[in-house]
Amino acid sequence: MSFLEVRDLCLDVGGFELSRIELKAEKGDYLTLIGPTGSGKSLFLETIIGFYRPEKGRIILEEKDITDLPPDKRQISIVYQDHMLFPHMDVFENIAYALRKKLRDKKQIEAEVKQIAGVLGIDELLHRKPATLSGGEKQRVALARSLIVRPKLLLLDEPFSALDARTREKLRDTLKKAISEYSTTVLHVTHDFEDVWALANRVVVIRKGEVMQAGDPESVFKRPSPDFVAEFLGTNVLKGKVKAFEGKLTVIEAEGLKIYSSDPAKPGEEVVVSIRPEEIILSRGTVESSARNTVKGKVLGIFKKEHLVVVEVKMGNAEIKAVITPTSCEMLGLEPGRETYAVFKASNARIIR
């Protein structure tokens, strides 16, 4: 039997719906649930932790049926996008609050808080009120508060979506470190593909309250189900090797392309690079610009996504997606088989793993 098993979970709370969700996770798994907004991901987490009671189905954690247990008896922690730090307590109090039900001894509590503050790099903040912290700092504190109790299961509900790209990246690293230190199983809800690549060993795709696909990230993204791609456009992920370090830029050879990235990496390292489709500019010819990457390719296909157009371009051995407006698509005269150039900044080619 798996560490966590969700069987045939059904719930409808007006607007959001879960229908027959099946899910398994092993101890130590980092599982991401990915899907567009409104797909019932948060509802799913809140059902696992016990804030909602499912209409049907069972939740089994460590061979114990916890479906009918109140949330305070489940030993599951949650971190929300908007952190939910108690505003009337300072950072220390917030973290210690979580521990007070487990430990009585004040000295011990203090030692534990100091330790986790060290791991998450928030030692300096312990006596500040949450309102005075930056978004990234708040999220570190929220993580500390959830991890300090060493939960059986840690639920993350889009913990990074309110942060800027740099902070997000840094926090991912910290999270990785903290999780290995406090060894816990994680369910992470996100709509960001980079989270999946950087953190997860398993991914579950949810749409409209249903599991569409599950597996390890590689197989899910290499062979996505057609519905899923149409609904939900992710990021371009390229695997490659660091060739050199030129000036302040890392040069990566990935799938037959030479890509400049402003993220640091050691030569020889195997990396995964992410380029968001909306950060790619398509042009007819080469253009002189501040963007360091200009790559030639051939248009494979064009399809509409709401009011935008997604252009698939074959470059080297990779298929890269770019998002442009219908007007630019017309002006460039793009159609399958035509040559085009993709231009993007080195800072937008992010090394995510």
């Binding site: 809140e46 932790i49 016990g50 804030f51 109140p70 949330p71 305070d72 008896k73 489940r74 030993q75 599951i76 922690s77 949650i78 929300y80 908007d82 939910m84 108690f86 505003p87 009337h88 609050y97 979580a98 039900k101 487990k102 309102a131 109790v149 939960p151």
Partner: protein, 274 residues
């Protein structure tokens, strides 16, 4: 496209003021001024010496003391009862919830006098009166009646203010606390109540002001008898009917003063919230 729109908006703002704008602002000024001057007149009709002598008369001291005592007692009980009521309405769904909500909304619309009459009937000889009397409790025409009347006048307001305070607190805070092993009551005690602090203070102030100003229901349930169930509004009323203007105006000034203090601290605390 977006850039083109903004200058248009800016232009219309610096445009000549419309007659409609001037009309609304004018009305706002005129009637606020009238209200303010009517309050001001209260202060200038009497000589300071007259106010002082009325203030320290035996009747006024009695009525002030009684007002303070009864209002404090009723405020305390209103807050104690409306916190659980408001919490239940805000957090749980249960049969009869919408009924409770609409009943609590009623007293805000219907006159206090009617409320007093209804209470008089409830606590009088017909219904609850005999049973309570058997326990040695007499509500009608007593000081306890004042508290009861004030309670029912202020209760719906307090529930409403506290309800919106609880509604402003994201239930996820409570859920997070639950996930750390705290029970429902512990969570309420350590998370919800402290977070509702300023709202609770504001509603206590408003409740106190409502209680001390309650008149119709108090008059009917407790009877406005001289130096017995005489609170400040009753003093005003009794002395107007005797033609004793100094006493009436002085109790009016006192009531105004308390109301001003209440509104002032209410604004400060509500405004100072996160």
């Amino acid at each position: 496209m977006r850039f083109l729109k903004t200058p248009g908006i800016l232009k219309s703002q610096s445009f000549k003021h419309s007659w409609f704008r001037n009309l609304t602002i004018g009305i706002a000024f005129i009637f606020t001024f009238l209200l303010f001057s009517s309050i001001g007149i209260l202060l200038f009709v009497l000589k300071p010496s007259e106010i002082l002598s009325a203030l320290f008369s035996e009747e006024m001291l009695y009525s002030m003391k009684l007002s303070m005592l009864t209002s404090s007692a009723s405020t305390l009980s209103v807050i104690c009862c409306s916190i659980p009521t408001a919490y239940a309405l805000s957090r749980y769904s249960f049969p009869g919830k919408s009924l409770i909500k609409s009943i609590l909304g009623l007293p805000m619309a219907f006159p206090e006098l009617v409320m007093g009459l209804a209470l008089l009937l409830l606590f009088g000889h017909g219904f609850l009166g005999p049973y309570l009397e058997a326990l040695g409790i007499k509500v009608t025409f007593t000081k306890l009646g004042i508290v009861v009347a004030q309670f029912f006048v202020a209760f719906p307001y307090a529930v409403r203010v506290i309800y919106s305070t609880f509604e402003d607190i994201n239930p996820r805070y409570e859920q997070v606390s639950r996930s750390f092993g705290y029970g429902e009551f512990e969570t309420f005690r350590y998370v919800t109540l402290p977070m509702a602090r300023s709202g609770l203070f504001a509603s206590s102030v408003i409740t106190f002001a409502r209680c001390i100003g309650a008149f119709g229901a108090v008059l009917i349930l407790a009877g406005g008898s001289y130096m017995h169930t005489e609170v400040l509004p009753v003093t005003l009323y009794l002395n107007i009917s005797y033609g004793n203007l100094e006493m009436a105006i002085t109790s009016g000034i006192l009531l105004m003063g308390i109301a001003f203090l209440a509104i002032f601290s209410f604004e400060r605390f509500e405004g100072g919230r996160l």
